[in-house]
Amino acid sequence: MSRLKEIKVALAGNPNCGKSSLFNALTGSHQRVGNFSGVTIEKHEGYVDYRNYRILFVDLPGTYSLTAYSPEELLTRNYLIDEAPDMVVNVVEGPNLERNLLLTTQLMEMEVNLLVALNMYDEVQSQGIDIDVKQLQRLLGCHIVPTSAKKKQGLDSLLDHVVRVYEGDIEVKKNKRAFRPEVENAVDTITELLAHEPELGRHNLRWLGIKLLENDKEIYNIVRQYPVWVKVELALQQAMQETERVYTTDPELSITEDRYAFIRGAMQECVKHAPGRKRSLTDYIDSVVLNRVLGIPVFLFIVWVIFHMTFTLGTPLMDGLDTLFSMLSETVASHLANETLRSALVDGVIAGVGGVLIFLPNILLLFLGLSFLEASGYMARAAFVVDKVMHRFGLHGKSFIPMITGFGCSIPAIMATRTLKSPSDRLATIMIIPFMSCGAKLPVYVLLAGAFFTPAAAANVMFAIYMLGIVVGLLSALAMKKTILKSESEPFVMELPPYRWPSLRSVLLQAMRKAMMYLKKAGTIILLAVLLIWTFSNYPKNPELDAELDRRIAAIEQTSADEEEKEQAIIEAENIISAEQLEYSVAGRAGKMLEPFIRPLGFDWRIGIALVTGLAAKEVVVSTMGTIYSLGEADETSVELKTILKRDPGFNQATALSLMVFVLLYIPCVAAIGVMRKEIGEWKAVAFYGAYAVTVAWIFSFITYRLAQLLL
C-alpha cells in the first residue's frame, strides 16, 4: 500500500452538539486519550483512513465561544493557533443552529480553513425544520455537510469534503464579515499598527485587533510586550470613546451584538421552523423532574439509584477480585521457599496490585451511571436543583454528585469533579471529598463502635461520625472559598440540553476511558506507595527476634502437650513475635515517634502504627491492630480483637470515639492521594490538603476525646 497522506483536522463545537458522538462515529476504535499539555482537559485523538488519506481528528473541548475566560476556550483557540491543524470542522447542533453559529462566526474571524458539520440532521428533519444549506454556505463562505452521528449519516460525505478542502478543490472564502463602521475603523487602525511588528506576523492581525477590542486579557498580554503597544492602547481608548459616544456601549458588546445580528439575518434567510412547535418530550420530563415539589425527591432518588448500583453491584465484583487475589497469593506463597521474596511478592506486589484493581468495578459502574446522566441531559438539571444548597457553602451545583460519591470511595469521586469548570470550585470539591466517609473506613467504625458501645448506641455513633464528615467538609469548603480559593467562581449560567437517549457505545466508551485512566496514572503511584509501606512495616528485621521465635518453637516442641495444643502455642508465639517485629520496623518506630503528638488524643504508639499503615488502605487500620495486639489475622468482626481492646487499660469509649474521628478526617489512602495528585496536577496543593486534613483531624479528635472523658 502506498503511503497515506496525513490530514490533521480539529473538531470544534458547542457542548452537547454531538461532537464527541461524531468523533466516535468517525474514528471508531482508532482512538487515544491523553491530556492537553499543562491542563487537566482530556485530549481525544483518533484517525480514519479514507481513500489514500489518513485523517487525524482531534476532538477539542466543547465551547460556546472563544474568549479567554474559560480554560477550555483558551485551549481551543491556542490549539488552533499553535498547532495549526489543516482545517477545523465546526460541529453545529442542527436543531439549535442559532446559538451554535456564534462559535462559527468566531472561527470565521480566525480565518481558519473551515468546514461545518450540520449535525443531528435527522432531528432537524423530524422536527420539520427547513434549512437552506446552499444559501447558508454562501453566507458563511464555507461548505456545510449535513450529518447524523447517531444514524451514521453523512459521514462519508464529511470525509470527502475534508479531503476536497485539503486538496483545495473547495475554496474556503475568507468572508470579511463587517462589524459596525466605528468598530471596523478601529480594527483597521489597530491591524495596521500591529503590522509594524514583524514578530506578530504569525498571528492573524485582524483577529488580534478584534480580540483587543473585546478586552481579551491573553491577547493584551501578547501585544503588550511590543513597543507598538503604546500606539495600540491609544487606538483602543479612542475606539472605546467612539462606540460609547455613538452607541452608549463598549466595543466588546458592539462586536458581540454584531455577530448576533449577522446570525439573526442568516437564520431569517435560511431557516424555516415548522409552524406551531409542539410541546417536546423535554418539556414533559422537566415538568416532573424540575417540579417545585417533586424536583428534590426525584433528584435524591436518582442519586440513590446510581449510588446503589455502584456499590451493591460493585461489591460482589470487588469480593470476587479479592478472592482471586488471595488465591493468587496462596499459589505464589506455596511455590516460593525464600521467605523475603515470598513476603515481598505476596504482601507487597500482589497486595499492591490487588489494592489498585479492587476499585475498578466501582469506578466502572459509577462512571457508567454518571456518563449516562451526563449524556442524557439530567446532570445539568441535577446541578440546577441543588445549586442553592451548594452555593451557600461556596460550591457549585455540580459539586454535589462527586461529593456524594465520596461516601462510596474517594477515588471515583475525585475523578468525577472533572465536570466542574472553574478550577477553584473543582479544587475545593476535591479537597472536601475525603471528609465524606468512604466505604473502607466502615470496618474501623464497626470494630470500635461494636467493641465499646451497645448495638443501639453504636448505630448512633456511626451516624454521628458520618454527619461530622459532612459538616466538616462543607465548612471547609466555605472556609477555603473565603480565603485561599477566593478567585471568581464559575458563574451559574448554564444551558439545560434537551433530553436525549445516549448511545450505549459512547457511555461504555466513556466509562472504560475513566477506568483506563485510573489504572494507568494512579496505578503507578499507588503501587509504589503500597510497596513502600510494605517495606516500612517489615524492615529493618530484628534477627534476634527470629532466633527467639525458633527458641520458643523448639521449647514448645519439647513439651508433652498433644499436637493440637502445640500448634496453638506455636501460632501464639508467632503472633507475639510478629507484633514485636512490627514494633521494631520503620512503621513501628514511626508509631513511637508519633506518640507524643497523638498522646493528647488518647492514642499510644500502637495506634500510631495503625494510623501509619492505614495510609495504604483504611481497612488496614483494623488488620494492623490485629497484628499489634498479637492476634495474627483480624477483621472488624473479630471477637478476640474486640475483647482485647476492651480489656486494654489504654482503651476506653473516649479513645474509641477519638480514634473514629481521627480515621474519618485524616489523610485518605495513598490511592486517593495518587488520584488527587493526578487530578490537581501539582503536589503543592496536595501537601496543603494533607497538612489541613491532619490538623483538622487532630483538633476534632482532641475535642472529642476531652468531651467524651468529661461526659462518659
Binding site: Y64, T67, V386, E488, M494, E495, P498
Partner: protein, 94 residues
Amino acid sequence: MLLSDLNVGDKAEVTGLTAEGSIRRRVLDMGLVKGTRFKVLRVAPLGDPIEIVFKGILLTLRKKEAAGIEVEKTGEAGDRVPMGEQKRRHRHGS
C-alpha cells in the same frame, strides 16, 4: 427592571447588561443580547436558580447573575395560561 425581578410565566426582552467579567461574557455567549425575547419558565425547587427559555434554548442562571441583566416586560404570567395549568385543566389520557 432586572431579570431577577420577574415572576414565573413573565415574558420580557433584554434591554441591557450591567454584569461584568466572566458572567457578562457567559450571558453574551449564551445569546442574551439586547433585543432577545424570553420567557421565565420556572424556579428551582429551592427558589434559586431560575430557568428561562428563548429561541428553543433552556437557560438556567442564579438570581444573583440574573440581577446583572436589564429587561423590559413584554407580557405577564396572566397573559396566557401557563403550561402547567393548561395540563391540569384539560386532563386527558395518562
